[in-house]
């Protein structure tokens, strides 16, 4: 079955071509069928492959499709790697992808058919690129997918291209991605130079031969690429702005899949990162810092999607923290659970926005629990999951990360817990402001308020189930012996590293249980506090914020900082270059040559005066010259 791996990305690619080329011809229904059907077919294939991979005695396979680049000693084949890690990601991508495709068919109903088809074409293209990314067996194929998802992100953020602000957001996302991509490319070049290959297996074999400096350099550059794609400091500001795109796009790309590409890449390259402890510390610190920074900003945001966006950045920070302390399984686990509950949160938010006719400000919502029951219950489940309440999924994955952080450095643990508390606070602030209390919107909105159609609620329900049960594949040792199925599943891929659960450090069971309990109590306390406070929220309470609140509300002024130190100097440099170098120097030289030729020819033209006399004179002079020359030549 794994021989047919090429079918998995092929279906979405076909969907993209059909919907893209036929966007003016096909009806909305047909487009929906093609789009959802293609991703569903991929999901089915992924399930079959997963079953094969999960069976005992499976060896990871590399399946070559064709020669891609074969020049001299450079041989980069277009081949896919089928192993546990890629199989897991395949499931996540195609599974959540199918749900979101289904959801979008209802969410985007108001669009014209050609725009509708364009949307689904882009979405299919995105799934295709993401699949390439996780399936590639060498860094070049991964990079193709890497670029492809960046492109689709741009296309989809700027989907409603009539709005300039959306276009700016799309450009911002693409440019910041690009900066990260430069780091990735440099790392690939360095790898090529040092190891002569970009193939995963070969690079990992040769990695121990390289010096620590080389490895640190390569891994740092790879991490730069990851910061761009997965929105870490300093390249995170594009993600909140990316909320300009349709909400299902935010769910798929900016919650469940694209932003996890960085984590996938680092996990895939764990051999390299384990050999570069300096980079790992950097990753941990930046991840933690991002988690805290984004959480603080989310505390004061009033747009429902912006809160979720900063929440995503924050959760990604946790995943990087996990990678930095060597807990690769924990990071992947959190990717999985985060995909479930964050997608659910975004789709729920989309449902709310849809029901209120594109209202996104929390201050105008409230009391939606009665009018939109399914959305309400699923949203609540997701909030509980993200806050880390057992037995929901978020609890298990977050706890695994925090435990690993504790084993590395207690400061990481404390700060991580602080971030978790902030997470639960702002999530339940969001929940309470949206679903509890009195409705603060307009009369017109209140009368039209109703639950969303089934195409939207069914994915919500499925994701809610996954958010509840998804964590049960990773039950830690402490609670249940030998029940961490995920770890066992991924072990063949991640072997050679010591997770914090093996070798050396080990927390005693009692300590671990105590810490778990303590944090849980704190979280429940915070949730109760936020619930109570924001259920009674009324508009008049908010006046212009001052001090710390203002600082947080304005996103720590990071965008303004970037503008001052990067954009403005660049603009003034390019203005200078345009004025001086382009106009005066380059144009001056080119025009100068033209002017010189014109001047010369004008002078030359004067010889042709039309005066017969001067013509004859010149003839005689030359005649004399010829005779003289003749004379002297013959004499010599």
């Amino acid at each position: 079955m794994s021989k047919l791996i090429y079918l998995v990305p092929l279906f979405p690619l076909a969907g993209f071509l059909l919907n893209g080329l036929g966007r003016n011809l096909l009806s909305r229904t047909l487009v929906s069928v093609i789009a959802v059907g293609s991703v569903l077919a991929s999901f089915v294939m992924s399930l079959l492959i997963f079953r094969e991979v999960g069976a005992d005695g499976f060896q990871s396979q590399v399946i070559k499709l064709f020669d891609f680049i074969k020049v001299g000693k450079v041989d980069i084949p277009f081949s896919f790697q089928v192993d546990q890690l890629s199989a897991l990601f395949l499931l996540i991508i195609t599974g959540v992808g199918t749900l979101i495709h289904l959801y979008s068919t209802a969410y985007m109903q108001e669009e014209k058919p050609s725009h509708f088809a364009r949307y689904f074409a882009y979405l299919n293209l995105f799934v295709f690129s993401m699949l390439l990314l996780v399936l590639g067996s060498n860094y070049v194929i991964m990079f193709i997918g890497w670029e492809g998802v960046g492109l689709c992100s741009y296309l989809l953020i700027g989907f409603w291209f009539g709005n300039e602000a959306y276009n700016d957001a799309a450009k911002k996302a693409f440019v910041m991605n690009r900066i990260g991509d430069l780091g990735f490319l440099l790392a690939v070049f360095w790898m090529m130079m040092r190891f002569g290959t970009t193939d995963f297996a070969q690079v990992f074999d040769k990695a121990p031969e390289a010096t620590a400096a080389v490895l640190t350099g390569i891994t740092m550059l790879l991490f730069v690429g990851a910061t761009g794609k997965s929105a870490q400091i300093p390249l995170f500001t594009w993600l909140p702005d990316a909320m300009a795109g349709p909400t299902p796009v935010s769910a798929l790309i900016h919650a469940a899949t694209m932003v996890t590409a960085g984590i996938y890449m680092i996990t895939r390259s764990h051999v390299l990162f384990d050999l570069a402890p300096v980079t790992q510390s950097v990753i941990a610190i930046i991840g933690l810092a991002t988690a805290l920074l984004a959480a603080t900003i989310a505390l004061r945001q009033n747009d429902i999607k912006k809160v979720l966006a900063y929440s995503t950045v924050s959760q990604l920070g946790y995943m990087f923290l996990a990678l930095g302390v060597g807990a690769y399984t924990g990071a992947i686990f959190h990717v999985m659970t985060h995909a479930f509950f964050k997608a659910l949160l975004f789709l729920g938010a989309g449902s709310v926005i849809h029901g209120l006719h594109h209202e996104q400000d929390l201050r105008n919502m409230g009391g939606l629990s009665k009018k939109m029951p399914i959305t309400h219950i699923t949203f609540l489940i997701a909030c509980l999951a993200i806050a880390g309440i057992p037995p929901f999924s978020g609890f298990f994955s977050k706890d695994e990360i925090l435990t690993a952080a504790l084993l590395k450095n207690p400061v990481y643990y404390v700060l991580g817990v602080a971030g978790a508390l902030m997470t639960s606070f702002y999530m339940f602030r969001l929940y309470a402001m949206a679903f509890r209390g009195q409705f603060r919107g307009t009369e017109a909105q209140a009368s039209h308020l109703h639950e969303s159609p089934s195409a939207m609620t069914i994915p919500l329900i499925i994701l809610a189930i996954l958010s509840v049960a998804g964590g049960w594949v990773g039950i830690p040792e402490v609670l249940l012996h030998d029940a961490h199925r995920l770890q066992a599943f991924l072990a063949p891929v991640l072997e050679g590293i010591d997770g914090p659960a093996d070798g050396g450090h080990h927390l005693s069971h009692s300590t671990e249980l105590m810490l778990m309990g303590g944090v849980l109590v704190l979280i429940i306390g915070v949730i109760t506090f936020a619930w109570k406070k924001y259920s009674k929220y009324t508009r008049s309470e908010e006046v212009t914020s001052t001090g710390v609140a203002k600082f947080l509300e304005n996103k720590w002024y990071v965008d303004e900082l970037y503008d001052t130190i990067i954009s403005k100097p660049l603009k003034s440099i390019s203005a200078f270059m345009n004025l001086r170098v382009e106009r005066q120097v380059i144009d001056g030289v080119v025009n100068g040559v033209g002017k010189a030729v014109q001047y010369g020819s004008r002078q030359l033209r004067l010889i042709q005066s039309g005066q017969v006399g001067s013509y004859i004179l010149i003839m005689v002079i030359f005649l004399i010259l010829f005779f003289v020359l003749q004379l002297f030549w013959n004499l010599q």
Binding site: Q608, S609, G610, Q611, V612, G613, I616, L617, V620
Partner: protein, 111 residues
């Protein structure tokens, strides 16, 4: 007379003719100087014809060597006559249009 003298004489007349062409502005005078040059050439040709004849006479008293040059001179005169006819017709036409025979005005042909 050594034929050198005839060569020099012809050269002098020829260069006087060129001086005239370069110096004068009247088209008719220029034309006449051209005739002078032609005549200088004729003189030279006849001189050479005589020279060849005399040289050949020493060996063969009934020779006609050198007669071609005189025939050539004859044809030069024929052509000069025809040329003068047409040239003067052109000059007359030019005079009719611009009422002057100044060769500097010929540059109007450029326009």
């Amino acid at each position: 007379m050594p034929v050198n003298y005839y060569i020099f004489l012809s050269l002098i007349l020829f260069s006087i003719g060129i001086a005239g062409v370069l110096t004068r502005r009247n088209a008719i005078i220029v034309f006449m100087c051209i005739e002078l040059m032609l005549n200088a050439v004729n003189l030279l040709l006849v001189a050479f014809s005589k020279m060849h004849h005399v040289t050949a006479l020493a060996s063969d008293p009934a020779t006609t060597a050198g007669i071609e040059a005189q025939l050539f001179v004859f044809f030069i005169m024929v052509v000069a006559a025809a040329e003068v006819t047409v040239g003067l017709a052109i000059i007359v036409m030019m005079y009719r249009n611009i009422h002057s025979v100044d060769i500097n005005f010929l540059n109007r042909l450029k326009h």
